[in-house]
Assembly symmetry: C2
Amino acid sequence: MSETASFDLSIDNVVFGFDGEKLQVLLIRQGLPGEDMGMDRFHMAVPGDLVLPHEGLDQAASRILSNLTSLEGVYLKQFHAFGAPDRVFGEKDKEWLTRFRPFPDRRVVTIGYYSLVSIAEYRPMPSSFASRAEWCPLSDMPRLAFDHNDIVMAGLEQLKEDVAHHNIIFELLPKKFTLGQFQRLHEIILNKRLDKRNFRKIVKRMADVVALDEKQEGVLHKPAQLYTYRKPD
Amino acid sequence: MSETASFDLSIDNVVFGFDGEKLQVLLIRQGLPGEDMGMDRFHMAVPGDLVLPHEGLDQAASRILSNLTSLEGVYLKQFHAFGAPDRVFGEKDKEWLTRFRPFPDRRVVTIGYYSLVSIAEYRPMPSSFASRAEWCPLSDMPRLAFDHNDIVMAGLEQLKEDVAHHNIIFELLPKKFTLGQFQRLHEIILNKRLDKRNFRKIVKRMADVVALDEKQEGVLHKPAQLYTYRKPD
DNA sequence: ACAAAAGTGTTGGAGATACACCCATGA
DNA sequence: TCATGGGTGTATCTCCAACACTTTTGT
């Protein structure tokens, strides 16, 4: 009853990006700046940081994302809180915390957000990254710091459910996209293959997806019709 | 950078119960024990409390639920974190915190869980409540402490989405239920009316819902066939 | 010419929707 | 006998799944 609890609170952002081929996740390489980092001296993680004392959660999520990746105005959704008592106390993790956190021994509960980005639209962005950030194919994720592998997987699960009911999938597509890209994206997220003709019938019924009078250029096959998504407001 | 954050972390549980007629939410009346509480001296809230220093989130959720309501082994699911910086600092809320919390000025972030209970199955329970707990129809919720009205509504939204994809709706039904109850429950959660004959056709196709050779008794109309749900494992 | 993805229709079956009357019970 | 919810079948339409070949471009 008189036990006094005190937690650090953080946000971790799983940023999904689609490049027309594969679904990717944005990772940052964290280490001591100026220090020569041997293979084990840094760690890969999803962009995240502590919530400030007077800041709302959504606000913190977008501040942190913007600080670490200079992504602004992207779709962001809270999906799960991760609070296993020992989630940040792996061996390498402790070392990193000691260097970067004021209270490295404090328990940290993190709120997981995912965000959705069309990689094509944000191509120019990486150069302005504060830390080193890189897209990493979901199918080829390295071992990440803390419980970040779990967080990424949980984010993907949530995305899968959300795609069915909300129109968020378009956040992952560039403004102009082909039906091939659109279908591939569905196949990746739902993790099953779809019939091309049936898929296109469904798309034809979506009033918000409209054909442009423009085609792909410079591809080594028949150029595809481009489409766009008009928000239903 | 040198700002030091320190949060209290709590769990709040939205307990949904179905009594065959209406969907209800379990509320507790919190006040000073032994104190005569005028109409404004106590507050109604969803069962919740602080997470202990070495406790996981799910673990905390079920401990707290069990402490405050003596519900054990019920379905529990985390659905959202609430962290507006001022969420516990309403006027009446502050007063309550001063009496019951070691650090009443500390910011509290809460993790919302919902749980599902068949009221019929737990009828005998309320007598053993530590605090005063009572079922309150969702359609008739009073003003609650803190941001608990928001939490309840967010829980309901989540429930609505989850019902479509997981078999959780049976958690709200008693072991033996009628198709009328089953349909009413759907109608309430989905907030639309369903056609009786069509609904029953769907149920017939559910292999997990089986008819018992038993009927309702003591009702003032034709007694209904009872059904039960067998988990598909 | 070849490789690579784009594009295009039909059919059969399953599931969704709409709709109205009789039945068993307790009061 | 009346009020109350329980229980039942059919016809139509829409949606889903399965399936194979031709087209356009770049190399």
